[in-house]
């Protein structure tokens, strides 16, 4: 998704001189083309995320649309107060781009695992939060929201080499996308883990269980009407997210179920603790935290 983002941003910047890209010294093999095409609108600010968000606030107050880029942990947590007191408080169009949600930087260790970025961003008023499921949806989201009012956080996966079947790149702010229909259980997924969720759905189908799958890429504004309507049709639903089960998609869906008194049991597939001392690939960490296709399949099966 990050390369799709860079390509889309280049197209946007070609047409709109307000677009500025800043990075806190990351983006090797991703941002070079933008830097070469638009040298006066590209800044590597150094390893200084707090300053980067502050600069972007100043730029946005003067009419620019700055994108600030780093790994998801560093893009959101290091400058969290700057995000809150800068673009959120001033309602300015700063775009915070975090790459590698969840365990995508698996071997990098805990410091590189973005496990709470969606939760901490989702609670900020007026901060739009977007986590596409594949590169086509990322491209659509970046194009459709670049001049959207107020600040945006994009959580972008590293990979561009898969597509979620049935998604076809669809994205609308405040809406969820149904990519598969079945009557037995509702699966709701966010971000790049959706590819595992879809494989789990294939396993369910082999076991004779038909699932409806919703992709939620717009966490704020939340697709409340879409979720309420769909949750009302099922006795059991499961959320799948590469994020702590608190604060992210599982919490969002729980809030909607509770808020509307919907009779639907929810199981939350997500991360339930920091993976201290665990080093490994994204795949092995997903397996260890019950987020592999087979583990998701088993969790859903047990809930039924």
């Amino acid at each position: 998704m990050r390369r799709s983002f860079a390509k889309a941003l280049g197209e946007i910047a070609e047409a709109d001189g307000r677009v500025v890209l800043m990075t806190a010294d990351l983006g090797f093999m991703v941002l070079e083309e933008f830097a070469e095409r638009f040298p006066s609108r590209f800044f590597n600010v150094g390893v200084a995320e707090a300053n980067m968000v502050g600069l972007a606030t100043g730029l946005a107050s003067c009419g620019y649309i700055p994108y600030v880029y780093s790994i998801a942990t560093f893009a959101t947590m290091r400058p969290y107060e700057q995000i809150r007191n800068g673009p959120v408080l001033h309602s300015l169009p700063v775009r915070i781009v975090g790459t590698g949600g969840g365990f995508e930087y698996g071997a990098g260790g805990v410091t590189h695992h973005a496990l709470e970025d969606l939760g901490i961003c989702r609670i900020q008023p007026n901060l739009t939060v977007i986590a596409p499921a594949d590169h086509r949806q990322a491209t659509c989201a970046v194009h459709d929201t670049y001049d959207y009012p107020g600040p945006i956080y994009y959580r972008l996966g590293k990979r561009d080499d898969y597509e979620i079947p049935g998604l076809e790149g669809r994205f609308t702010v405040g809406r969820a996308e149904v990519v598969r229909e079945g009557e037995d259980v509702l699966i709701i997924s966010v971000g790049s883990i959706s590819v595992e969720a879809m494989q789990a759905v294939d396993l369910l189908e082999e076991a004779g269980i038909e699932a409806t799958v919703m992709i939620v890429a717009s966490l704020r504004p939340a697709p409340e009407d879409d979720l309420r309507e769909m949750l009302s049709k099922f006795e059991v639903a499961a959320t799948v997210e590469e994020h702590y089960v608190e604060g992210g998609l599982g919490s969002l869906v729980s809030e909607i179920i509770a808020g509307h008194g919907i009779h639907c049991r929810l199981v939350r597939c997500g991360i339930r603790g920091m993976s201290i001392g665990e080093c490994g690939s994204e795949a092995s960490l997903r397996e260890a935290h019950d987020l592999s296709p087979r583990r998701i399949f088993r969790t859903v099966l047990e809930a039924l």
Binding site: R41, A48, G54, L55, S61, C62, G63
Partner: protein, 270 residues
């Protein structure tokens, strides 16, 4: 709107004492510390301040807790009505202890130290990118130089030669819970900014003529970003407040109010 009184340190100090007493709010020492700097900026230095002009100079009160000094200047300049100033710290007021950008003349909401210089640097960068000649003035406190994020901006501004960025350091030597030399020694402060690549000027922060001469004399069209280290005294103008930590916090009682106002009226004539 206002009665359009002259913007002077004397008028600003009187309003600080008057409004902090009425509101029963502290941060008086910090506001008095910058009265002369704010007077110089709003009376003379800042261009098109308070307007919607895209090319107006930007001003950031990064040490937001001294906002009463700026509210006083905005009132004296006719940018906010007396009723706004009079509502300082009242329920529903636009004028809280820390400034909010919805108020005319306030470009950025501040209050969390170490963030304002980056806003100013972003605005200065925008001016350069757009070919505009406006400047960004950021008033920081010396204790604010404890914040690492400030030094991130200091390095960025120097690296990019943001000549139209001016940091004014209110160097009163004290902070919320002690003297700066005892809490986290910043000395030599001017040399630090110089070593980080800034053009540094050291001035008496209570000499308005020197402040105006220095700030107006800066060549913001080229060269390095500018730091003006203004030596000040917290609580300046009220003898029992000067250099005293407690006046970062305390409100005035009736007797202290009368004494403070009398001292200002007698010793700091306009």
């Amino acid at each position: 709107m206002s009665t359009h009184q002259t913007i002077t340190p004397w008028n600003i100090r009187k309003l600080i004492i008057e409004q902090s007493k009425r509101a029963n709010v502290g941060h008086i020492g910090s506001a008095l510390s910058i009265a002369d700097i704010v007077s110089a900026l709003f009376a003379q230095v800042l261009r098109k301040v308070g307007s919607d002009d895209r090319c107006r100079d930007r001003f950031v009160l990064s040490k937001g807790h001294a906002a009463l000094a700026v509210y006083s200047a905005l009132y004296l300049k006719g940018l906010i009505p007396r009723k706004h100033l009079q509502s300082y710290c009242c329920e529903g007021s636009m004028c809280g202890v820390h400034p909010e950008h919805h108020l005319p003349g306030i470009d950025f909401s501040t209050g969390s130290l170490g963030q304002g210089l980056a806003y100013g640097a972003g605005a200065a960068l925008a001016a350069r990118m757009g070919g505009d000649d406006f400047r960004a003035f950021v008033l920081v406190s010396d204790a604010e130089c404890n914040e690492g994020s400030l030094w991130e901006t200091v390095m960025f501004a120097a690296h990019h030669n943001l000549s139209n960025l001016v940091a004014i350091v209110d160097d009163n030597g004290q902070q919320a819970f002690g003297m700066t030399k005892d809490v986290l020694n910043l000395r030599p402060l001017a040399e630090k900014w110089k070593v980080f690549g800034w053009e540094v000027h050291e001035v008496d922060g209570h000499d308005v003529a020197e402040l105006i001469r220095t700030l107006d004399g800066l060549d913001t069209t080229c060269g390095k970003p500018k730091a003006v280290i203004a030596e000040t005294v917290s609580g300046k103008g009220v003898s029992f407040m000067e250099g005293k930590i407690e006046w970062h916090y305390l409100p005035l009682n009736d007797e202290q109010y009368r004494t403070a106002m009398k001292e200002i009226e007698e010793t700091s004539k306009p």
